[in-house]
């Protein structure tokens, strides 16, 4: 294997703290998020769960200003996101979303290097592209392929690599693996969790899958009607003291696990 530049250049924990202070957003008369206040400690993996329309995507997009709140502020390491130019802010934050959004007219290396190209007009050096492909567990010769030649899972790996290319401390992931098959999804989730640890990231991931949240996150926020109705660790969630919405969400994978166990027990023993 060819030698690659170390990635990231500094291997210390550099994920920032994130704080929401009374953040609200309305679409007409519909309240998407309702005066949300919450804090995320540096290096934490937060999963936001909740039913469709509970406001979880809107909350995450308020961080990189894809959504501009009507009221309240979002602070990253104490600095209000409004103090920075939109595009500057976004370049410093990794963003991965369900529709992946690889640019079809650019090959994998160009997609991964897009942040460098728009920030400094320079393509990302080949060795860094290779390092990023290693990081997301893709063969290096994928660099010259076009997105349409990749499977969905491979495409989202490139999506993650693209988000990581700018060496962000904060990753926003809006149902990143929602469109993938369960096996790919499990593998990617697992690998991303490892990356989160290794790179010392702060990660906010929106998911509608409580099992995913329980397995990968440090903290889980349950949202309903634009509010955070529960903020707890996976262990506390499973212990079941987090309110009816959280309980209903936890019940699903628990019940599935119980039924699968029951089915296994009913198999005739050899």
């Amino acid at each position: 294997m060819a030698p690659t530049a170390p990635f990231p250049s500094t291997l210390c924990a550099h994920g920032p703290a994130v704080a929401f202070e009374g953040v609200s957003k309305h679409y007409g008369s519909v309240v998407a998020i309702d005066a949300v206040s919450a804090t995320i400690l540096p290096g934490t993996f937060v999963a936001i769960v909740g039913s469709s329309g509970s406001g979880k995507s809107t909350l995450v997009k308020a961080v990189n200003r894809l959504v501009e709140p009507d009221a309240g502020s979002v602070r990253i390491d104490g600095q209000d996101v409004l103090e920075r130019e939109q595009h500057e802010l976004r370049r410093s934050i990794g963003y991965v979303f369900q529709n992946i959004g690889l640019f079809p007219h650019m090959n994998v290396a160009q997609n991964i290097g897009i942040g460098s190209r728009i920030a400094s007009r320079k393509p990302l050096p080949d060795d860094q592209v290779a390092a990023l492909l290693d990081l997301v567990d893709l063969p290096r010769d994928f660099a010259t392929r076009l997105p349409e030649q990749l499977s969905g899972g491979q495409q989202q790996r490139v999506g993650v690599a693209r988000a990581l290319a700018g060496e962000p401390g904060l990753m926003l992931m809006d149902e990143p693996f929602g469109a993938l098959d369960p096996v790919t999804r499990e593998a990617l989730g697992e690998q991303y969790r490892a990356l989160h640890e290794r790179l010392g990231l702060t990660t906010i991931m929106v998911t509608h899958d409580m099992a995913e949240a329980l397995l990968f996150a440090d903290r889980i926020w349950v949202m309903a009607s634009g509010r955070i109705v529960a903020d707890a660790s996976p262990a506390e969630m499973i212990a079941g003291q987090c309110g009816p919405e959280a309980e209903a969400l936890v019940a699903v994978p628990r019940l599935q696990a119980d039924r699968i166990t029951a089915m296994r027990n009913m198999q005739p023993q050899p």
Partner: protein, 519 residues
Amino acid sequence: MNQGLFNQDWPRILDLLAQHVQLSFAALGLGLLVALPLAILSARNRTVAGVTLGFAGLIQTIPALALLALFFPLLLALSAVFGDAISPLGFLPSLLALALYALLPILRNAITGLRSVEPAMVEAADGVGMTSLQKLWLVEAPLASPTIMAGVRTAAVWTIGAATLSTTVGQPSLGDLIFAGLQTQNWSLVLAGCIAAALLAISVDLLLGVIESGIRWRKHLRIWLAGVALAAGLALALWPAPSPDRPVVTIGAKRFSEQYVLARLIGRRLEAAGYEVRYREGLGSAVVFRALATDEVQVLVDYAGTIWTNEMQRQDPEPRADMLAEITRWTNAQHGVRVVGPLGFENTYAFAVRPDDAKRLGLRTLDDVVRVAPQFVFGTDVEFLERPEWQMVQAAYPLRFKGRRSFEPTFMYRALSLGEADIISAFSSDGRIAANRFVVLDDPRGAIPPYDAILMVSRSAARDARLVEALEPLVGAIAVEKMREANYRVDRDDNKQSPADSAAWLDRMLRTPSQGKTP
């Protein structure tokens, strides 16, 4: 005479093709320059889209010929303000009209292309931190470009086709061949013009298609090759023709056979005198004098009555000699145009009927027609009903026709003999009157002014004594019988001659006046 499809004046066709390419490429380029920014604004704002698409759509409903003609008065007004930098004739009005015409397909496709960029692409572009300009340039434009190119292809084909019409405002194009051929019923000339324009349109469309597919499938080599081919074509068209070492004279001609023949006759005389001759043929009546006044053409034959009524805005009849003197004075004072002199024949509006009608209904004068007009269909050339002469005729004779039909002059004579019209505003020097035995009606009230053909030269040519000297022998030299014969050689159905050949015959007749008039 051989007028076969493959026996054409190739240098002339190539020259017209080059001018056609220059004009249509320039118009397409200008159209792109205007349409693309408008499309970007429109794709972001529905109101802007409504306005731009509405405007471009409205333009499209104006016939191209009319759009070209409309720029004439507009640019004439502008040139009155800005001076000679703005010419109401030739390249500029053609460029503007064709560019406007190219707007709609480019706009419509570009807006569709930009709007159909997937939301995920926009979200990704925003998410990685692109500015809106970067988003446009790196994501939206490349993704919309196949659709945009499809619009450019449509615009290119339309523009190349419509550019043939620019002949009518004095811009040389392949339309010169079509209009000249149509007028003299030289179908091989029409075909040559059509085929050349079609081949040009098809080649450009093919090359743009290669670029489109290159963009769509990301084959950069294809884009480059086709781009180079297009650029090479344009470079060839722009390649300056070897400039002649002889002085160049441009002769103007309107859109009927006599004008084509006279232009060639004058051309022969000037070539003999050592000039390099260019022709600007197929000009509309309204623009032809303007072309002389602005020195875009240097030599022209026009008719006294036309100058009198259309240019000088006079409706009062005057004796022939006074009228000529007045025209000579006025054109020189107003436009520096010099009247070299009358050619010796008149080509007036001659109201003609079929001989059987004349006999049966006893038609000898326009007064007699008043009686039968309610049963008659009046056939005219395309401009007569709008000309002051028609108002003057109506003022003198209360004519109420059953119907009116306009024809290209060629078809007007056919219409009368076929009964599609019962009376026509024929031209007195046209050989087809006698050939069809049509009866020309007298004008006892003198409503129609004299239409002596007069030879005029522009301001710059008037200073060239040698040129004027070469033209002077034509003054008073052409009897109406000779002109009719020359016209008929071009207009007749059998054994047709080209205007150039007919002009050669006429030239021989003029040099040996004692000989008989028909070979």
